[in-house]
């Protein structure tokens, strides 16, 4: 399966901002955060459409999120995920002795997720990561 090497950025989006105010367990938060914005050219290379499940992997882990076409291109090979529990599975925890993990500019691979892999809900993701409900 096609795989591309990209740089992963993370940050706030206005939907993430309003989603968190609707509640971390709300559908709105889930829909605004469990996503990855990909340049249209990269989506074409992967041979997938917007809304497909996308697997994002870094040396720290991998997570499945929905692929979203980036509105603000062109920025090929740069993908963007909003702050939230999903990006943190793949974020770089290295702080270089500053207290600050490296949430931006993380080398990553993106590929279409296998048919058996789906985007986990917040509760499922927490259960998988922490073993608590």
């Amino acid at each position: 399966m096609q795989k591309i090497n990209v740089t992963l950025l993370s940050g706030r989006t206005i939907d993430q901002g309003t989603g968190k105010e609707h509640g971390k367990t709300s559908q709105k938060y889930y829909e605004s955060v469990a996503i990855c914005e990909v340049d249209p050219a990269d989506l074409e290379t992967l041979g997938i459409k917007e809304g497909t499940n996308l697997k994002v992997s870094t040396e720290f882990g991998s997570v499945v999120v929905k692929a979203v076409k980036s509105m603000r291109g062109p920025h090929p090979k740069i993908v963007y995920m909003p702050y939230g529990p999903w990006i943190n599975i793949v974020a770089n925890p290295q702080t270089h002795s500053t207290g600050m993990p490296s949430f931006k500019g993380i080398p990553a691979d993106i590929e279409p997720a296998a048919p058996t892999e789906r985007v986990l809900s917040l509760q499922e993701l927490l259960k998988q990561t922490f073993g608590k409900e």
Binding site: K24, G73, N88, T129
Partner: protein
Amino acid sequence: MPTIKNVTCPVCGTFCDDIELKIKNNKVIDVKNACAMGEAKFLSYSDPHHRNLKPLIRRNGELIETSWTEAIKKSAQILAEASYPLLYGWSSTSCEAISVGIELAEEIGGVIDNTSSVCHGPSILSIQDQGISTCTLGQIRHRADLIVYWGSDPYSAHPRHLERYTAFTEGRFQPSEWKRYVSRLRGVIGKKKLERASQLALMEEISVPPITGSKIPPTLETEKERKLIVIDARRTHSAEFADYFIQVEPNRDYELLQALRMLVKNEELEVDEVAGVPVDVLEKIVDVMVGCKFGVLFFGVGLTMSSGKLRNIDAALALTRDLNFRTKFVIMPMRGHFNVTGANMVSIWQTGYPFSVDFSQGYPTYNPGETSTVDILSRDESDAALVIASDPVANFPKNAAQNLVKNPLIVIDPEKSATALMADVVLPSTFVGIEAEGIAYRMDGVPLPLKQVVKPPRSLLSDEEILRRILREVRKLKKKPRKA
């Protein structure tokens, strides 16, 4: 139906103070002037689906309702018995609550850290090294004629920053960018129409050059209206409002900042491009910067979270200092939460240090990298934690969050956050700024009051009251009666 005016908005660091709320039957029913985030908070805070109304305690792996007395006792017991407890969060509560929190940290010999350690912590470290040339947002609103946002997307994170303080506000001495933006927008719409018409007529795409971003408009240096430049690793929403957008390659901000410093000092760059930006573009940007009367550089976590971290801020502060030899320039971090600045302020008053303060030796010590939350958790050193007004489980890297969750965890939060779902004791509090009063600091260090606009549910206590009760209980356990 009462309308309450001049309400401050307890969401982002812009901390708007002009919100108007209509209240009916002790409920907010209408919000004026707020952005999408503020409106969402005021209208949906009381949604029972995402808040707890009773204290919870974990028994046999499940969170079940309990009494306040038991929940407070259990929390005090966890904290008093821990040898290296962590008290984390604080940026979305009032200064009064933070003040009690620091007292509690001292009492239990723990580490107290606020969210700036994963936000603008590197900026603070750098400001301590370099010093900062800054001012209040009011000065910027009335006087600044050049606005630069670097690694910050105010449209997404501080939605009213542009309209209240920078590009789109009419200052007393400085007209806004508004008219130029509207005419540019007309151009963009015209261009889209032209593209669509050509697609329909010729059934093929023609390329029309972009309206913004390709080159600096020649009039930019001479125009009286405020100018806006956005510098970021990707084209953000805010870039659409800018007169000029520079796309820097990820993790190469430091080089670009240093290149700009060289150009400000009239030195020559012997390369064609820096961090993906052609040098002739940089030269023109520096001309605009040097040519302005009052410039301001707002920087976001795009600088503090990418490679270089505090060194990026060193370069940005130094660039501002260099520019001040030739014109007037100030710099300001775009602080995220409404009271993260207040968390630093209170921490400085009471301990001498702004964040990551360790009381384990009986006196405050400060060494980010060692005493900062993510590092403590990554090394798995803490053995219990109290999290207040923040959601580290949703916002920390996986291994740090796993080590936080595996030890006893107390959460004080009005919302059912991801951290609250993982907690061992949940102490639900009132929403400060809606159901409780307090003081918070805007991003430029101006203190403003948080108003109480509705009565809280009877079963809930404020953050400050919960902390006072825990502190009292901890002192009882330690048998050191003091005034709580």
